[in-house]
Symmetry: C2
């Protein structure tokens, strides 16, 4: 469904959000340990998210990554997925046409669009804050 990069991106963002809620900045090392992801690969993804204005990075000792507290509620999953995987999730054709187009649809178009739109809605409606809620109370997990 999502690329590995995207999965790491979502998990990392969620963890950073969780810590940012208590004003803490977190290092790459801590992040990749907490979400169980390859460190260097995660670094690139975080860099990508920083470029896309989703999180803030700081170099040097006591540096790390953070998300502005007041944005945790307004940053949606869709923003993260878009920053990493682009719009393929929203515009992609089920059967691989370059672009989904209702004027020259693939046989699966009608039924697929319904699902894809629900996925889209879900991603657009789910904020980073929501993802942290279950984590805090030990109801959900970022690694096993």
């Amino acid at each position: 469904m999502f690329s590995k990069a995207c999965e790491y991106g979502i998990k990392a963002s969620t963890y950073i959000a969780l810590k940012s809620l208590e004003e803490k900045r977190v290092s790459l090392k801590e992040i990749s340990s907490e979400i169980d992801s390859p460190m260097a690969f995660t670094a690139k993804i975080l860099h990508q998210l920083a470029k896309n204005d989703i999180l803030v990075s700081a170099k040097g000792p006591s540096g790390g990554f953070q998300i502005q507290k007041d944005r945790i509620e307004s940053i949606k999953l869709a923003d993260i997925v878009y920053a990493i995987d682009g719009d393929s999730v929203y515009k992609g054709c089920a059967l691989g046409f370059n672009e989904c187009n209702a004027n020259k649809p693939c046989p699966l178009h009608d039924k697929f669009v319904v699902i894809r739109d629900e996925l889209k809605k879900m991603l657009q409606n789910t904020s980073l804050f929501e993802l942290t809620e279950g984590l805090e109370v030990g109801l959900t997990f970022l690694k096993r």
Copy 2:
């Protein structure tokens, strides 16, 4: 969403179904031309589908692929996807855990399961026959 292999598999199966409705067997060459897919790669996918009892293959001159007419309605997209991509579409975790498990869920679990189940239902309810209907009347297409 689906792998390339799966996309080709669905398109090929749909085309074979379309021709099988008029008792025609179709060659690999014709198939990959009609769905615009790499021939040798398509061959492997068709072979895979034949092994999984979704279509019948015949070697030699005037050989090719066919689907039993009386099964075109009962073969569902889910069967094809399963034969090629396995159960990852149905059991996969949104954030990459080995298996989705409600007892130790990822932060996206609850919202993701809803979408995944709808996709599952859609695939289980959509028959190969349904996909051919639009094709016959020029409403849908297998290539652009």
